[in-house]
Amino acid sequence: MSRPVYLDHAATTPVDPRVAAAMARCLTAEGEFGNPASASHAFGDAAAALVETARAQVAASVGAAPDEVVWTSGATEANNLAIFGVAEYYGESGRHIVTARTEHKAVLDPCRELERRGWRVTYLAPDGGGLIQPEQVAAALQADTVLVSIMHVNNEIGVIQDIARIAAICAQHDSARLHVDAAQSAGKCPIEFATLGVDLMSLSAHKVYGPKGVGALLMSRGGGAAGGSRRESVQMRARQFGGGQERGLRAGTVATHQVVGMGMAFELAREALQTEATRLTPLRERLWQGLAALGGALRNGDARHSVPHLLNVSFEGVEGESLLAAVRGHLAVSTGSACTSALREASYVLRALGRGDVLSESSLRFGLGRDTCERDIDAAVAAVGQAVSRLRRLSGV
């Protein structure tokens, strides 16, 4: 039996063979296996040089400076480090945070934890297309707001938030730092960290053909900003201790092979960014047109402000778990619901957009990638079409 068509690139991507080869060279005795913190011998020096090369590659791919990159185990850790790190550092000057209802759980859960510790959090509601208007951020800021956390591209529906305008608003505020979860956009959308006006940005390697288990937090060292003058460089309290690596912000031996993989993956992604965007946009539209022709298909997220690699669609008259089970043999996609137990929970993102529970559960997220071609798109349309028709017939709709 052939493997299903993989259209879940928004969840993860396969490691690029060139990335895997570079990583492998850091693992064995013949390669650069040294501890990058071992400054007393050549093995350590060689590993440290690779780590710094990777740091420069990641920084260059998003328009940041190398010394603004702090390695983490992924975007979840980067989000946690940003939110708790800022909260703990600036907590005496303010205890209010602004975020959005549609953020990833890696942002929402830390915010909820801070609420349990006495912080106040404002959760902005998106419009029906999933967008947060910058004016909403401005209205939500309070005198003691210390952090605004708004994602660049939503991981479920692919809408792009207007980070530059939000950054300009935060820059005018006395104390609000801006954190952006860019796990779904870095390597896929143009990002110029140095001029965007963002204080903190979370990155992930495995969304762009790098390895799982590595990411980074960009920490602005201050300077220019779009739409306003940025304040001093952002400060944070460390979350873990024990070696002083990463300027004391993230202790622990840096995993040379992981960061080398991330560095190369980001460099390759930057090189391919424009051509991939140009190639994927018509493929995504071909997919949407094919699904729309089934009838009762509702596109989730504002299509005018969305990334080329992601499409989210709800299907009327079908139950979500059955839809996923029916396409599973043909198609690897995600659903708009989370399996927290045997029972499914409707997507909180789609519910925030105003979709009801049944439509939220009956959504599929299609994540297109470098290997996605027209044949895959047509196969996806055929598989979903067959499943939707059968389930609607079964349900008497």
Partner: protein
């Protein structure tokens, strides 16, 4: 979510799916699509013996599979209020997680509504 072989077979093949048409067909339904689960049974009965059965279902693979199995088993048997197996037995046969067993009660309610139902006036054929 993983499903056992019986569930997958009945979900994928759905024997006895559809509706019955003609005089004297019993029809009963339970549940609500807006709440995620809805099941309908049609029975053709002669001298209290089930001659034919069909089902429609909106729900998870377990719901569809169990409804299909019940409808497939019904012909040839006496018209009875009880399902061919108890909810506990069906749970075991189809490996229905405990959190989803309420959906089997909806299937049971649909069956009861059908057995007790008035003969239907039909609106169309979905087969």
């Amino acid at each position: 979510m993983n499903y056992n072989e019986v569930t997958l077979a009945y979900f994928e093949n759905t024997p006895a799916a559809g509706v019955l048409l003609g005089p004297g067909i019993l029809r009963g339904a339970a549940g609500n699509r807006a709440h995620g689960t809805w099941v309908q049974f049609d029975l053709q009965v002669d001298a209290r013996m089930v001659q034919a059965a069909r089902f429609l279902a909106f729900g998870c693979p377990h719901t569809i599979a169990v409804a299909a199995w019940v409808a497939e088993r019904a012909p040839g048997g006496e018209l009875r209020a009880a399902l061919p197996e108890s909810v506990a037995q069906l749970s075991e046969r189809f490996a229905v997680p405990v959190e989803k067993r309420g959906r089997l009660l909806i299937i049971e309610d649909a069956w009861l509504a059908c057995v007790r139902g008035e003969p239907q006036v039909h609106r169309g054929n979905l087969e």
